[in-house]
């Protein structure tokens, strides 16, 4: 848009932020060839914003506590020191953190550094609700009708309500919580409910049963000139947290006259306060009448700014912020709006019928819609986002990124653009179906459900839409995980190099379970160890449990093992502890777990890798399901008793002797004794190996020579699946997580069929 080289030659820009917005700002700075400085806290040391910047400086490097260290992004003093040390000339605060902290803005300005945002006094004024409202009133920007001051008593309230008109909302200055807001539809109700508010400061406001959230992007030159860049609608929100944002507003495009009035009001307010840089003026809009009312002004770059950029080709709000900052710095009366005709208001005054595009943004959060949107930190085991020319991705995550509990769990923003709203929605649904962000739960399925809802598609969503939006994830939730319940598939990994094959220890029972539910026999399922688990299935699901004998019930009703079962929606499956001799039970689910990604070719959990977060399942985990519902008739299917494996106490297993079954290592009588002994399985056995307790080995030698001091030591030797090596004096049958080589001699190898 502008010639980048000359104006910024002497500048250096610091981004006082992290995550996607830091990357967003750095991208523009790099395009403009401005040297950049990133700041980061401990958990972000390898984050992409650090990698992307020309310089990166650690915040609070000596603070070892990750939680307090993570607050480094709020440490105004530390960031200012870095600015000075690194000769920074421009500071972009992004959103959140210090972006609306007037003290920090002032410190930056006082240090002679350009603050890429509004003046500190503007930030302060707009941060004070009453002051912001005064300023709006001064230029006839309408406020939500309400009592001018705190109510004296119940009659005062009724009087005010009569003026405003019902329904009204009683609000407490103490604010917050359920008691803070009470809706009254008539005077009687108002009199009755007023008494709920004891001595608190109470005021009254007009209540709108159906309202929209529409906001106008403005930009000012700090001299009293401002423009708008059109509006955005963010009515799809959950507890004041925006979920989907779009431009233009589907509500306003049907009401161009109101739209123009809103734009004008926004510009009036921005010019009135001599607003500088980018800002957003938020309005509440009565869905019934289109009347709009000033809510607040956000004195920063907004999360949802990309939708405005997408419908205004060529617009880069960050670039404009930099340009304005530098222009004013070089000449106090400088105005980027005057200097650059591209920023003329006429560019943005596009009538709805002349609009060529529509943009929608969704925020992908690592939070669980099925658990009150609780943040779900963890490792993103697979991140795969498709590329389309109509898809803009603002992301900071990739496969292997850890979402920590210290920050907002935003993973990325997906912004689609279409020639009209319906095309944008079609594209959004497509992308939401294609994006893979596999790890702890996120809101992708939820976003997709919203995107496919009739209300959203019709552009009819109001701010309370999500309050009653029903969403059921295709998933099960772990209520209790048991001792070691892991995701396994068969045959696991076959690549060698000491990467264990992993997979189910009892692959026969495992495959039976899959066959019962109609899966490929090797499909991923759960392996349970000794203790059972409790799972809640959100949707009807076909399952089967096999392996060691366990008690099973669904919603309290006892059900059989080795049989196909259908769990109803919301059903609880309780798998009890292993009761017989068997140790491991298996659960197969029709369709498997499509959102568990493969690692090195398998979904099996092994050595902290693969499976669900590389670990055993724990209470609160949620695993997404695929095509888990029975499509065929609900006829029962069971494994005939004759075929069900038994789990006896005594096992005779077939082995192939060698290679160290030799008098060089063990005496001939010792070799005979080894095979004749009835060994006992040790409690210390695990998925790496079955440890055997029994008599001492009759060694034929004193030491292992070059291999080690113990006669069981050798230099090294390959281990097969089922090899019995002798670890000191303990024979160990190497199993699914066993090593593939090592320094212990190997007496024999168990036949695969007996494993």
């Amino acid at each position: 848009m502008t010639d980048p080289a000359p104006p910024y030659a002497s500048h250096k820009l610091l981004v006082a932020n992290r995550g996607e917005i830091a990357i967003r700002v750095l991208r523009t700075a790099r395009r403009l060839r401005i040297p950049t400085v990133a700041v980061y806290t401990r958990v972000d040391a390898t984050a992409p914003h650090v990698v992307l910047a020309d310089e990166a400086v650690a915040l609070r490097p000596d603070d070892d506590d990750p939680a307090s260290n993570a607050r480094g992004y709020l440490d105004a003093d530390a960031i200012l020191v870095i600015c000075k040390e690194r000769s920074v000339t421009l500071v972009h605060p992004g959103y959140g953190f210090l972006s609306e902290n007037e003290r920090f803005a002032q410190m930056v300005v006082d240090a002679g550094i350009i603050w890429l945002g509004p003046r500190p006094d503007t930030i302060e004024a707009m941060g004070l609700k009453h002051r912001a409202k005064e300023l709006a009133t001064e230029v006839d920007v309408p406020l939500v009708p309400g009592s001018k001051s705190l109510l004296r008593d119940v009659e005062d309230a009724v009087g005010s309500a009569d003026t405003i008109g019902y329904p009204v909302m009683l609000k407490s200055t103490a604010g917050g919580g359920g008691m803070g807001l009470v809706v009254c539809y008539n005077a009687d109700e108002l009199r009755a409910k007023f008494t709920l508010f004891h001595n608190d400061g109470v005021f009254i406001e007009k209540y709108f049963a159906a309202a929209r959230h529409v906001e106008v992007q403005v930009f000012g030159d700090g001299q009293g000139r401002a423009i708008h860049m059109g509006e955005r609608e963010c009515s799809v929100q959950r507890r004041h947290q925006k979920v989907i944002e779009e431009a233009p507003s589907p509500f306003m495009v049907r009401r161009p006259a109101i739209q123009q009035r809103m734009w004008d009001a926004a510009v009036r307010l921005a010019e009135h306060v001599k607003y500088e840089s980018a800002g957003t003026i938020e309005f509440l809009v009565d869905d019934a009448t289109g009347d709009f009312f000033f809510l607040e002004m956000n004195t920063r770059l907004q999360v949802e700014h990309p939708v405005t950029e997408q419908v205004n080709p060529g617009l880069d709000i960050v670039e404009l912020m930099i340009l304005q900052g530098v222009t004013r710095h070089d000449k106090p009366t400088g105005s980027v709006l005057l200097a650059h005709p591209a920023y003329e208001q006429s560019v943005y005054n596009v009538l709805p019928d002349k609009r060529k595009s529509h943009a929608i943004e969704v925020r992908v959060y690592c939070e669980n819609p099925a658990a009150q949107f609780k943040p779900s930190p963890g490792v993103l085991q697979q991140v795969e986002i498709p590329e389309y020319e109509w898809l803009r991705v603002e992301s900071w995550v990739e496969s292997g990124t850890t979402i920590t509990p210290y920050f907002d769990p935003l993973a990325c923003k997906l912004i689609v653009t279409g020639s009209d709203r319906s095309q944008a929605i079609t594209r959004l649904a497509q992308v939401l179906g294609e994006v893979k962000i596999y790890g702890p739960p996120n809101n992708l399925q939820y976003l997709r459900a919203i995107c496919e809802s009739e209300i959203f598609k019709a552009g009819s969503a109001t701010t309370t839409f999500l309050d009653t939006f029903m969403f059921t994830p295709k998933a099960f939730t772990v209520l209790t995980g048991g001792l070691e319940t892991t995701v396994q598939d068969y045959p696991g990994r076959r690549i060698g190099l000491g990467i264990p094959r992993s997979g189910p220890m009892d692959s026969l029972a495992f495959r039976f379970a899959n066959i019962l539910v109609g899966n490929d026999p090797g499909m991923e399922g759960l392996e349970l160890t000794l203790t059972g688990c409790r799972l809640m299935f959100h949707v009807p699901t076909v399952i089967a449990v096999t392996g060691a004998t366990v008690k099973l019930n669904v919603n309290g009703t006892s059900v059989p093992m080795w049989a196909r079962l259908v769990i109803p929606a919301g059903g609880k499956l309780v798998i009890g502890n292993a009761t017989g001799n068997g140790m491991r039970a298996y659960l197969a689910v029709k369709g498997g777990f499509p959102e568990i990604p493969k690692y090195l070719g398998s979904k099996s959990t092994s050595l902290g890798l693969g499976g669900y977060q590389g670990r055993a399942l724990a209470a609160g985990d949620q695993i997404a399901l695929g095509d888990c519902t029975s499509s065929d008739s609900p006829s029962t299917l069971t494994i005939p008793t004759a075929v069900v494996p038994s789990y006896p106490t005594d096992w005779a297993i077939d082995v192939l002797a060698g290679p160290h079954c030799d008098p060089t290592f063990v005496t001939p009588s010792g070799i005979s004794a080894f095979f004749a002994t009835k060994w006992t399985v040790s409690a210390a056995s695990n998925r790496m190996g079955v440890r055997l307790e029994g008599p001492r080995i009759e060694w034929a030698r004193e030491t292992g020579g070059e291999g080690g001091s113990h006669p069981s030591n050798i230099l090294d030797n390959g281990y097969a699946f089922g090899t019995v090596n002798v670890n000191g004096d303990t024979p160990v049958i190497l199993t699914n997580e066993g090593p593939d080589m090592g320094g212990y001699l190997c007496a024999c190898t168990v036949a695969s069929a007996d494993m």
């Binding site: 040391a45 190099l497 281990y719 080589m741």
Partner: protein
Amino acid sequence: MLDFAIRARIHAFETEVRNRAIPGVWFLAPCIRSTMVHFDPLVISQASLLATLVEAEVALPASVESLEFPGRKITFPVVLDDKWNREALEKYMRSIRDRAVYLPSNIEYLARNNGLKSAQDALKKLVETDWLILGVGFYLACPFLVPIDPRSRLVGQKMNPSRTFTPRGAIGIAGPVAAIYPIESPGGYQLYGRTLPPWQTWGKGRDFSPESPWLLRPFDQVAWEIVSEEEYAQLETRFDAGQYAFKIEDTMFSMADYATFIDSIADEVKEFKIRQAQGAVSEETRERELFAQWDRTRRAELEARQQDATLTDTTGDESGEHVASSLSAHVWKIKCAVGDVIQSAEHVLVVLEAMKTEVNIEAGEEFVGRRVKGFGRGAKEGSSVSAGEPLVYFE
């Protein structure tokens, strides 16, 4: 015995086997003196596989003396006698074994065990030679390597018992072989330095990919570049961010050149081996005594603890449904008492402590409304419990 000619022959054999692309062969796992062929018996029978392997072996030249093996020479930045490994050893001395021939310093032990004057001498020998990768395996593509120069081939015993913790990237020696730990893990090798791990879980960076998160292959060579702890910390961060690129050059391992080199230093090698053998004998003798002492103390303590447990084990009824420890840990605080009725699934019963972190053990939904009737054997403040061990029993 460690013999380069045998290892070279294995390498030549594997190359020959791979060229034949035998169906059903999953992979080969070469060691120092052998290789193991892992195959699918449903695709190829043992007999026909063996026949093919014999053919491959017969196709090799009688002697490997003239062979050359292509590989890469990769430079690893290394911190010698680093603080991370020292911390791992301190932890070992606190929690596992406090006196052993290899304590308090693995490096000083290596010096003595190899007839060297000082730890500095040992470290110098370990980095002044290039090393040859002989095997990649065990767990997560752990490389096993030996010094190309026989005068640098230090030997050491494995720690007994093993450590429970080793930092990733740690380099240690056991027998005549060194390993670079790919991830944080238990281990028993004698540690002397720390380098960047040859494993990158997510395959980030130029030298890795998601399909191959490991770096090294047999017959690669490793050279060392000494860095400080501060430099290492920076390199490690770059490594984790996928920004580090190892210095890698193509090279050739010539058996003929190697033989010439060995001949040229034969006397020195002989002398080194004599002193090494003397050192090893005296260290082994010392270790036998120290181990016996430690073993006696340990057994005595174990008996005392068992005695104590039987005396104080009056914590109520121990049977039936219970909440178990989800991990091996110390019991920090017991937050419930016999007779308590569980109010919510989040009701904290016991606070465990593991790796300096407090872990709340909650009652869980199934025990809401149930009454505590007793505690598990290990559920005493200050004692330790293992994963799966019952903590609290319910009526």
